[in-house]
Symmetry: C2
Subunit: 205 residues, 2 copies
């Protein structure tokens, strides 16, 4: 099986990158330079017409969307990164869906307001709202965390959560007010596979 991950430094593609490392699946990296807008250029749109990362080529077929990729990687890696119990798996999917469709979307209103309006004043209003929406999400997540991990064991949802928590200080969240979430972030970041990924993204930034 040949795997090529299309990714950009510091973006949500980090968690899929980390999942590949955690799962021990050999893969190639194809960096997409957001600085030059490469995600909107014809070469990349041939890979992913949505113009976003991550995208994973699996023997030439393209799969997109972080939650779908994370679960595919978990399964391809032998299943250790997803709970086997159906209700526990459902709660891991619930977390990933909330992260993708609420928390990541809140964050996107800082730099990607152009997705929803061309009006610069409205984009500025969206940007101004980000500390409030991200703080509300952070508090919800902080209250949701019970043990070390989202599920009974470490899973791909922890990588997804870590990736988005990593953005929170820059989004105006006071991390002192969400100690369980901060401890979760640090616990994930300390894993050797994740530390390797962080180093690669910092070098590529």
């Amino acid at each position: 099986m040949t795997l090529t991950l299309h990714l950009a430094a510091g973006t949500i593609s980090m968690c899929v990158h980390a999942a590949l490392e955690e799962a021990g699946l050999p893969h190639d990296l194809a960096w997409v330079d957001f600085g030059t807008g490469a995600q909107g250029q014809p070469n990349y749109l041939k890979v992913n017409p949505k113009g976003r990362v991550p995208a994973l080529e699996i023997d030439g077929a393209v799969l997109t969307e972080a939650p779908a990729l994370l679960e595919w990687v978990a399964e391809a890696g032998g299943g250790a990164l997803m709970p086997r119990d159906p209700l526990e798996a459902a709660h891991v999917r619930e977390m990933m869906s909330y992260l993708a469709s609420t928390v990541h979307v809140n964050h996107a209103h800082k730099m990607r307001g152009h997705r929803w309006t061309d009006d610069p004043a409205a984009q500025a209003a969206m940007r101004a709202g980000v500390p409030g929406t991200m703080t509300a999400s952070a508090r919800f997540l902080d209250a949701r965390l019970r043990g070390d991990w989202v599920g009974p064991d470490f899973s791909v949802a922890d990588l997804h959560l870590w990736n988005i928590t990593r953005w929170m200080p820059g989004d105006g969240v006071d991390m002192d007010a969400v100690p369980a979430l901060r401890a979760h972030h640090d616990r994930v970041a300390a894993r050797p596979a994740v530390a390797r990924v962080i180093a690669l993204h910092e070098a590529a930034a």
Copy 2:
């Protein structure tokens, strides 16, 4: 197993309701009246602190987020509503994630701009952008559809897609320009289980 679905007429809870009907799983319905803001009242926040629908009580435990619920219902119903092949399942999850985190979010900028800003002018700008963003999503989906269904067979992703396509005429999408998507919508709506759900939601509206 006792199942209670918390839902509101015409919302994204419709697809989970339809999945329960398709799967033949007995369930109770607990309607949440968005007209009176019941989703934000203490009684409902005890069920789902996010103040949103759908929420499913499974022997008293609460599960939220449409993609997680759809896949749990598919599994509880015996598995016929999800592909068994891991890559096909991944593409079904990819569709549900795109619907939840991009298309549903585009739609939410019409009536739920208050999620991201208190500024009435910015909310109006968001609302004005909806026909454009929803048309772009509709065209992407129209080009994505190959056969009758999202996957090789009918799956929960078809219910999710039908639910969101149902909003598109009201969001300013010219359905004549997306014939494959319109045909998909009509194909799902004609299923007996889905027709029953539509009738219940129209009566509850």
